[in-house]
């Protein structure tokens, strides 16, 4: 126990010493750079770069195991983000959207352009206050009305949009030719090409789209047990889905790796100066 405390203390001293050393070296590097903006700014910028690098490494340390440095970075992130989003919510929604439409004196006070008195904006104001009634144990039930309004309005707005774009348009998107640019068997083989825009690839693509949509929909059919031909189609559907998920997974791995590359670029370039 005393040993582990000693080790923790040594690690802490090393971390602090490395932080200070890094800060000083970075400040000198920034001051000596062609874009030098003065000693104070170099010290300030060096501090921010160093602390960003150390927080990055603190989060990365979780890959080894959970530790106080990771916890510190996590709690710092949670606290700052909670405060940030509260400020954004206040200034963007209340001051940005509500105040300019209900009060000219408040608009002047908060220095936002007054858009004129629109009585319709009092409706969300009242609904917002009703929603806050949730905090009262006696009157909390009234907040359900505001919630019902939110759910109803969102559903109504979204129903038409999603039905139009994600259902009707997609139905017509499956009206695709079985054989693309078909001029006969001879021309098909004489102009055969594996190019992605070639006849063969486009034809295969259309077949995959149609069978995939058909069988995928059957998999999500809940009113019938998946047996017999229906079961076979459902299994084809789940295979298509799994292949899609695999491709999607691969795409996301690419996304995650690029975020890692971005972070390492920051460490190597902005902090350590190893790459330009």
């Amino acid at each position: 126990m005393a040993n582990s405390k000693r080790i923790s203390a040594i690690i802490l001293i090393i971390v602090i010493a490395t932080f200070l050393l890094s800060w000083i070296i970075k400040a000198f590097n920034l001051e000596g750079s062609p874009n030098n903006t003065g000693l104070w700014f170099s010290i300030r910028d060096a501090f921010f770069i160093t602390i960003a690098a150390f927080l990055t490494l603190a989060i990365f340390s979780f890959l080894y195991k959970d530790n106080p440095y990771y916890k510190f970075a996590e709690h710092l992130f949670v606290g700052i983000s909670a405060a940030y989003w509260m400020c954004v919510g206040f200034w963007s929604t209340l001051i940005g959207n509500l105040v300019p439409n209900i009060s000219s004196s408040l608009s002047t006070f908060f220095r936002v352009p007054y858009k004129g008195l629109h009585f319709t904006y009092f409706v969300p104001l009242i609904l917002g206050i009703i929603l806050l009634m949730r905090l009262s144990s006696k009157r909390g039930w009234i907040s359900r009305w505001a919630l019902a309004w939110i759910v109803g309005t969102t559903s109504g707005l979204n129903l038409i949009r999603y039905l139009r774009t994600d259902f009707i348009s997609q139905v017509s998107n499956t009206f695709i030719p079985l054989l693309v640019d078909w001029k006969g068997v001879g021309p098909f083989f004489s102009h055969f090409s594996l190019s992605s825009t070639g006849q063969f690839a486009m034809t295969l693509s259309n077949w995959v789209i149609f069978i995939g949509v058909f069988c995928g929909l059957i998999y999500f059919f809940f009113s019938k047990e998946h047996k017999g031909i229906f079961g076979t189609a459902s299994r084809v559907g789940i295979w298509v889905l799994m292949i899609t998920f695999g491709a999607s997974f691969g795409y996301t791995v690419m996304g995650r790796v690029s975020l890692l590359v971005g972070r390492l670029t920051y460490l190597f370039r902005d902090w350590l100066g190893l790459i330009s």
């Binding site: 890959l63 080894y64 954004v88 919510g89 963007s92 929604t93 940005g96 959207n97 300019p100 352009p113 858009k115 707005l157 949009r161 999603y162 139009r164 774009t165 994600d166 348009s169 997609q170 998107n173 992605s196 825009t197 899609t244 491709a247 999607s248 795409y251 996301t252 791995v253 690419m254 996304g255 790796v257 690029s258 975020l259 890692l260 590359v261 971005g262 972070r263 390492l264 670029t265 190597f268 190893l274 790459i275």
Partner: protein, 303 residues
Amino acid sequence: MTNIGLIISFLVIGVGLLWLFILALKGREVDRRIIFIFIGLAVSVPLLFRISFSEKATPIVRDVFYKIENLPEGSNILLSYDYGPSMAPEVEPMSNAFLRHALAKNHKVFIMCLWATGQSLIATAIDSIIKREFPEKINGVDYINIGFKAGGQGVLNVIITDFRKMYLTDVDGVNLDSVPIFKGIKSLKDMDLLISIGGGFPGVKEWILFAGAPGNIPTAGGSAAVAAPLLYPYYPKQMVGLLGGIKGAAEYESELKKVYPQFANMPTPGIAMMGPQTLAHLVVMAFIVIGNIAFFVNRRRKP
């Protein structure tokens, strides 16, 4: 430098993978921290030795490029920065490429965001791209930043009929009616192309659902890789084209360099990232193959 880096990468990682393969065949468990080290090496070495690969634009990326390219000079293009710093390494290369392309074609660029965190990224883009590379472009004449408005798709519902119901001024407080670029612009329907860059909510899908499709306005997207597969069903009828992840950004940058010689020396973070990406993907593929072989071998070994 690049060749030495490639040789070192393949040697170190290749030997390491062989060792892992032997361990796996013996049925020994591999600590996940070893896997993390491999991924770290696969990404760090190409970065340090500047290994990169050339890119060729695929049709879905080319369609966006040539849409911007073929619009008459002076067309109105709206760029929406719907992402935050967490997605920036992936999508910032594409947003910078769009900005360069649109300004090089002398299009009028309208910049906004549906994410609060997009505001600082727009400011960075204006300082690092427009003011540095296009100093002749005038704010309010050639481009404008109207900033962020809270409301997500609600904002799109409003500005598809009237911009001024949501935006009275730009981010500097200048009235839109006094700004030359906004003369004759009433709503999103006056835009010749909408481009949303992001990968979360609201993002490209919301722009298609609430602006592009109902307003019949050509819409293109630049999306983080995780959201890109969801958007393919909209191509090509409801979406002009899509840049999917850093690969899409790299393809767009390579097309831009090919068509515009003035961008020969521009920073291409998308293309630069392809080296680490390729190596990391090869390592992941090797892990999958090793893991599956080990799984089947060990299953056969057990009675």
